[in-house]
């Protein structure tokens, strides 16, 4: 399988999003990969509202099974999101559980007017009724595969395909 070029997909997302952003658009990246992409898009689109960051660890639905992520970061929503038009950014859309957790968390900050979702890759395998409005690329991965986004020292994004050992 050809591993998608994250930078090319970022540019594709930028082109899709550019016509719909307004001064009211609040961009929020989901930690970690989504935050990197959001930072790039926020700059490229010249958004003037501050960029937000969500770490959804406190909202995960598998806490009872896996415990708390020891690397949990601060969520930072430096703007009132009451009535805001939110553009949520993540790297890979899979089961939809991260997006559900992110939406739950957002509503604890206020009641946004709307939330749109943009992802670099939609890999299928949804377990919840979630869909992205903007997608860089759609591809089908096996359950034992995962697509991990990495950022190098110069800020370049790239995907890595990881084969998990314990196939479920």
């Amino acid at each position: 399988m050809l591993i998608p070029d994250a930078e090319v997909l970022c540019e594709s997302l930028r082109r899709q999003i550019a016509p719909v952003v307004s001064p009211a658009t609040v961009m929020i990246g989901v930690h970690t990969g989504g935050a990197w992409i959001a930072a790039k898009l926020h700059r490229a689109l010249g958004l003037t509202t501050p960029l937000g960051l969500l770490d959804i660890s406190f909202y995960r639905d598998d806490f009872a099974r896996v415990g708390l992520n020891p690397q949990v970061k601060k969520s930072a929503i430096p703007i009132d999101i009451e009535n805001a038009e939110i553009l949520l950014i993540d790297d890979v859309l899979y089961t939809g559980r991260t997006v559900r957790a992110a939406m739950n968390e957002l509503f604890d900050y206020g009641r946004p007017k709307k939330i749109d979702l943009a992802v670099l890759v939609d890999r299928g395998g949804r377990e919840l009724p979630v869909a992205a409005r903007f997608t860089g690329e759609t591809l089908i991965l096996e359950a034992h595969q995962s697509l991990n986004l990495a950022q190098d020292a110069s800020g370049q994004l790239s995907f890595q395909l990881v084969e998990k050992k314990d196939r479920t």
Binding site: D55, S57, F58, Y59, F63, V66, G67, L68, P70, Q71, V72, K73, K74, S75, A76, N104, E105, F107, D108, Y109, G110
Partner: protein, 319 residues
């Protein structure tokens, strides 16, 4: 023998004492607390992590502040909190500690937050649960006798890190009744584990435990000398009941030698912070001018305590 606070993977499953915990676990609690601190600033100050869990606050000894902050912490994690003031209930009817625990376990408890006048009571409970093979109930020590008060120690570390950023160049002085203070013990273990190069204890001989130097601290009896050049001053409460014995001549006498006054504080660094676990005795261990002054971080300590207790509860409950 395995540290009874850790599970078989070496993860924190009970918090009983800071003694013996690796630096990595302490840092991870402080980092997690940092993330919880921002939850307290939101419109909705709650996260759903412990939704449906029952947290029992078992206070065999009174403490309004600690019990309240544990209760707020549990509620901000969406847990259900049951406060039991055991002084007034079963214990006074003669029920043993472990029978009380078994009964509450039968009520599907998920966590016990325990304050007890006897050192080791939370250990006894954790050991009892471990022996029964009960892994889903977690124990957090909220202060046991003279032994430990680990969440206070951790919130003190959080406070120091918040204001001083880094532990590696600090001199920290702990002043007052070290002998009876579980806070002092927890602070000393935490400070040395986190790499503070110089920890001082300052107090009269009658209120310092014998051989305390073995904990890696420098001992001072003269407060002005001991505060010279320190970055952090941790004042301890002088428990009034100590006055009744032969340990101290009088509160006035203690204040003269060991009360933190502006002139004594002037011996510390200009940007030194002043901490106190509360409740304060103004005019006994601390002067009101200092307690209300610009260097005091006593009320921020209380606020940080909520985030630290949220971190401890969610980390232990998840392991």
């Amino acid at each position: 023998m395995r540290n009874p606070q850790l599970n078989k993977n070496g993860e924190l499953t009970h918090l009983l004492s800071i003694e013996g915990l690796p630096k990595g676990i302490l840092e991870s609690i402080l980092n997690t607390a940092d993330s919880f601190a921002s939850v307290g600033e939101r419109e909705v100050k709650k996260v759903p992590l412990l939704r449906g869990k029952s947290v029992f606050n078992l206070f065999f000894e009174n403490s309004t502040r600690t019990r309240t902050t544990f209760e707020i912490a549990a509620k901000r994690l969406s847990a259900d909190v049951i406060n039991l003031n055991i002084n007034a209930s079963s214990a006074s009817k003669g029920e043993s500690l472990l029978d009380t625990i078994d009964n509450l376990s039968a009520m599907q408890a998920d966590m016990f937050v325990v304050r007890h006048a006897q050192s080791g009571a939370p250990y006894l409970i954790a050991q009892h649960l471990n022996n029964l093979g009960v892994e889903h109930i977690h124990v957090v020590n909220a202060g046991d006798g003279r032994h430990a008060h680990p969440t206070q120690g951790l919130l003190d570390m959080y406070t120091i890190r918040h204001y001083k950023k880094d532990f590696s160049n600090l001199t920290v002085a702990i002043v007052g009744d070290i002998l009876h203070s579980r806070v002092a013990r927890s602070d000393i273990h935490a400070l040395t584990t986190l790499g503070v190069p110089e920890v001082r204890v300052i107090g009269p001989r009658t209120l310092l435990p014998a051989h305390i130097e073995q904990m890696g601290v420098r001992v001072f009896h003269d407060m002005a000398e001991g505060l010279k050049g320190v970055d952090v001053v941790i004042m301890l409460r002088l428990q009034s009941e100590r006055m009744k014995g032969a340990l101290l001549p009088s509160a006035q006498e203690f204040y003269k030698s060991y009360g933190l006054t502006p002139d004594k504080l002037a011996r510390a660094k200009g940007d030194a912070i002043v901490m106190h676990p509360g409740p304060m005795n103004r005019g006994v261990e601390i002067d009101s001018t200092v307690a209300d002054g610009g260097q005091a971080v006593i009320l921020p300590q209380v606020t940080f305590g909520i985030a630290v207790r949220m971190a401890v509860m969610s980390i232990t409950a998840g392991n």
